[in-house]
Subunit: 278 residues, 2 copies
């Protein structure tokens, strides 16, 4: 196992590097995760949005009401909190914990929490200043309103899509089974049309990302259904997530995006996001 993949599980109050075999996260994907980037001072600029999504997921899965408090307390005690690395990130997993065999959750579950710290890459826009190359995934996202928006552990659609990336892709555009554009495999996406920001409606599929919601809170954004024709006709397209930040698409499915004022507008958004982490 590579050193970078060390994960800590909080089991019976102790941080360990193994996990109970009968955990419902493993048995059924009965849990949530968040991928979190810290500012140099150690705070989490987008914590408000991580917290909001965790809360949505805890409610949707019917986890105990005090789960969020427990998660926040655990995160404060994470094994790497005392480290002085300049830029840190981590993946948080919260599951419904162990239980007897069967889909029915225990009446009073004891959550299990995992923390996987890592050093993130630089923002994608610095690594790929010309933007990224993407294509359309041939895995269509199922439409399931009961699981849409929050970040649960049932991620086989993304695993399948990621396996099918062509060699020059850094991201894939995922459509749903009705043919509407939803998101990237690992990110949300936005269009620019004559200076206006547009992003897909996620009520049926997709993950409602923290950068997406921060953008919705800061700018005037239209949330609507978008098909692939409209996507390719946009002045520009960008992808965003908590680790990569905001990254422009240089081309999608061979269609290049070269509208210079739209690219400048994306650069301004990138700068606004980076300022949160200054």
């Amino acid at each position: 196992m590579p050193e970078s993949a060390r994960a800590y599980a909080l089991v019976d109050g102790q941080w360990q590097t193994h996990w109970p075999s009968t955990d419902r996260g493993l048995q059924y994907g009965d849990g949530l995760f968040e991928t979190i980037r810290f500012a140099p001072g150690g705070h989490i600029p987008l914590w408000k949005y991580h917290r909001q999504r965790l809360l949505q997921g805890l409610c949707a899965l019917n986890f105990p009401i005090d789960s969020l408090k427990q998660i926040e307390q655990t995160l404060a005690q994470r094994p790497d909190a005392a480290s002085d690395s300049p830029l840190q990130a981590g993946k948080l997993i919260v599951t419904r914990g162990c239980g007897p065999r069967g889909y029915a959750p225990p009446a009073t579950p004891e959550l299990l929490i995992q923390w996987q710290p890592f050093v993130p890459q630089d923002w994608a826009c610095h690594r790929l200043p010309q933007g990224l190359t993407a294509g359309f995934s041939d895995i269509a996202l199922a439409i399931q309103p009961a699981l849409a928006g929050f970040k649960h552990l049932n991620r086989l659609e993304q695993v399948l899509a990621r396996q099918r990336f062509e060699s020059d892709w850094q991201e894939a555009v995922m459509l749903d089974t009705a043919g509407q554009v939803i998101e990237g495999c690992m990110s949300n996406l936005f269009l620019l049309e004559q200076g206006r920001l547009i992003t897909p409606d996620l009520s049926g599929s997709g993950v409602n990302g923290v950068v997406r919601r921060w953008l919705l809170s800061q700018y005037n954004v239209t949330v609507t259904t978008i098909d692939r024709v409209r996507l390719l006709a946009a002045d520009a397209v960008f992808f965003c997530n908590s680790l990569q930040g905001i990254i422009s698409a240089a081309q999608i499915n061979g269609q290049a995006f070269e509208h210079s004022s739209a690219q400048q507008q994306i650069a301004a958004l990138q700068q606004d996001l980076e300022n949160l982490y200054a």
Copy 2:
């Protein structure tokens, strides 16, 4: 953790009761499972169908080609294989194992295999001789042909549905998001119409169970789309899975099924299945 929930993980050639934290089964649900019932002599009468479904899942998820051989070897060495309990069962989990963070699987994954032995209940038709009570779940199954039929670890739809059982239900009928009847929460289902066996098409959703496929191999069964009106108008409905066997519905959504020759036909199927385990 209850004693019945002890699970054994094969890690680095040793059976252990913990699981690596960075396993992709936990991180993404990137794996498969089977719930297996043994005959008293220790063989698995429906192994052919478990094996077939494992193979379908291994191919769909693009696991290494020799995975099935590894699973069969591991199963032969399971910790309880030497036990002389009269009737045994177990849950088998196979995951893509550990890897670096991210959806992309490692190029040469090392599978992890878990075995959770337990003593099964008696066949459901002996415990509930009058049949079971079921209702319609308000969780609709998403339509996702890329994941339909095989038994993967992304089971949140079933967890949500199981939580919503009314107190007098022993099973729930799951429809898909298009309103077609697919299966029970924990089983497949069949209709009897004037002596004919009918079962839902599972090309978009659902688990293609081992008892279902055994029935398809033994009898003349029509596989088609079925809506709730047709289900409730049937002479009889039964549910089936590897642990519970074949169990008739006494009522679904308040509609009683009392067609005596259809019930006799179900009793004959139950006997045929039990004979495999004699």
